[in-house]
């Protein structure tokens, strides 16, 4: 019996070891294949520098738009109870599970020159094909659900009694949102923003289909890796290493933010306890 138990626990340990090794090896290999000095040289290449600038600019704009429009939308979806709410939330989450190529085809079919809204966009004298606007749209499409999903959960976790209390004290709905709901949900919103940013920085499929790839204009870090990998594998490794660091940091931020911002309340309860003693 205890032998069986030992075998089972050994099997669990083995499975865990396989999972960790399999998931970690490719990441470690990126750093092992090229010495750190060469990694830095690879990053100093013009192509990598241009790609870094394009990636930062388009992703910061996309994130700004996601926060600006996604936050109130998430607040609405979290607070309002209406028929089909679960369905609407599922629709918003759909891009999370869509293959990137499908996102690219969809964006082309909707906003492409010959797409559904192509004529309308043309009529305004605008052209988004092959511009950074197209990159921003691709990034926003794939990344915003990460933020909105987390933001809905964060707003749902806010104690409704606090919002009601603010209202009975005379605060209007906008003030309740800005002064009570937002600060209370801030850590969750931050975590969602970090996740969305990480997903956006890594965007590839929809971008190359919808925005194309041109150095200094639409070529993001992921696209640069794809263009570099057969010409200059070291440079591709260097850019990959940079993305591992960036994405890892963002994941860490997303994980730690909620615990950090919970600290004021624990600090408060701690101080209450200390005065009572």
């Amino acid at each position: 019996m205890s032998a069986r138990r030992a075998a089972f626990s050994a099997a669990l340990t083995a499975a865990t070891a396989i999972v960790i090794a399999f998931l970690l090896l490719p990441v470690v290999a990126i750093f092992v294949d090229v010495p750190p000095g060469r990694l830095l040289d690879g990053l100093r290449s013009d192509a990598a520098g241009d790609a870094l600038r394009v990636t930062l600019k388009t992703n910061l704009i996309a994130l700004g738009l996601i926060l600006l429009i996604g936050t109130p939308a998430a607040y609405q979806l979290a607070r309002r109870q209406f028929r089909g709410r679960a369905f609407v939330i599922t629709l918003v989450e759909l891009p999370l599970v869509l293959p990137p190529a499908v996102a690219g085809v969809g964006l082309l079919a909707a906003f492409g020159t010959l797409g559904l809204l192509g004529g309308t966009i043309d009529a305004f004298g605008l052209s988004i094909a092959f511009t950074q606007t197209a990159v921003v749209m691709a990034v926003a499409f794939v990344a915003s659900p990460f933020y909105i999903r987390t933001a809905i959960a964060a707003f749902e976790a806010v104690d409704p009694a606090l919002l009601d209390a603010a209202r009975t004290l005379g605060a209007g709905p906008a003030r309740v949102f800005a002064r009570v709901a937002l600060p209370l949900a801030a850590s969750g919103l931050g975590a969602g923003a970090a996740l969305a940013f990480a997903r956006g920085v890594g965007e590839f499929g929809a971008t190359i289909m919808f925005a194309g790839s041109l150095r200094g204009v639409t070529q993001t870090l992921s696209l640069a890796i794809y263009e570099l990998f057969d010409v200059d594998f070291d440079a591709a490794l260097a850019v990959s290493a940079l993305l591992v660091v960036v994405s890892g940091t963002l994941l860490l931020v997303a994980k730690l933010l909620p615990t950090w911002t919970r600290s004021p309340s624990t600090f408060l309860s701690g101080s209450v306890r200390s005065t009572s003693s």
Binding site: T113, G118, A129, S213, Y226, E227
Partner: protein, 237 residues
């Protein structure tokens, strides 16, 4: 006992049959995407930019045959003893593809010099991109490269962008326009500016089916395959 003998005989026969016609894995240039499965649908194909396929073969990809849109990649692999001696098997031409609706109103390649033409080309590395640079050099229009709106990893991506009207024009092979003739029109490039576009095919040395791969390549040089290549618009010597 008798059953076992029959079973073993059946196994031997089956494996013998399998050894005679193994399914080959063919890595082929993206511009062959439409014609190759029509010539021989029994093989497994992986289509992509010749440069990327060559890179994958260097990394040990399980290819039996490599079909490149430029001798550059077959010859480089041959020098490094990764493929057997390459054969030329067909040629192609470059054209300027425009959407059927031709929104930029292009009539000749020289119209590209006008402003505001959204031109898409291949990267410098992929064959169609290096041929394009050669054409532009011969036309004395290399400065156009600074106005290109996107550099695509293979010719199919260029075709897609132009066919969808995202781009106003793109340099592709004449065979690509034939395949998408309902959405694309070809603008000819003057013969004196035309680069030599040769396709080469080679057996991959690490293949387990080298004899079968050689036989398959030999069949490519025969009547039916040649007729189909010609019908698709490829040049045959």
């Amino acid at each position: 006992m008798k059953v076992a003998v029959v079973a073993v005989t059946a196994l031997v026969l089956a494996s013998g049959a399998a050894a005679e016609t193994p399914k080959l894995t063919v890595y082929a240039a993206a511009s062959l995407t439409d014609v190759m499965p029509r010539i021989d649908a029994r093989q497994r194909y992986s289509f992509g930019g010749s440069n990327q396929l060559a890179f994958q073969i260097r990394q040990g990809a399980p290819a039996d045959v490599f079909m490149s849109a430029s001798p550059e990649f077959t010859q480089a692999l041959y020098r490094d003893r990764l493929v057997e001696k390459p054969h030329r098997f067909c040629s192609n031409k470059l054209v300027l593809a425009v959407p059927r609706s031709n929104p930029a109103g292009l009539r000749t390649v020289f119209d590209l010099k006008r402003k505001d033409v959204k031109l898409v080309v291949g990267t410098a590395r992929v064959p169609v991109g290096s041929y394009t640079r050669e054409v532009l050099r011969r036309l004395g229009m290399s400065s156009l490269l600074t106005k290109v709106v996107s550099e695509e990893p293979d010719v199919k991506s260029i075709v897609g962008k132009v066919a969808l009207g995202q781009a106003d024009a793109g340099f592709v092979y004449s065979t690509d326009v034939r395949v998408a003739s309902d959405r694309l029109r070809a603008i000819r490039i003057p013969p004196w500016a035309q680069p030599k576009v040769h396709y080469e095919v080679a057996v991959v040395r690490s293949s387990e089916h080298r004899a079968a791969a050689r036989a398959w390549i030999a069949r490519l040089e025969q009547g039916r395959a040649r007729r189909m290549l010609r019908a698709a618009g490829f040049g045959i010597r």
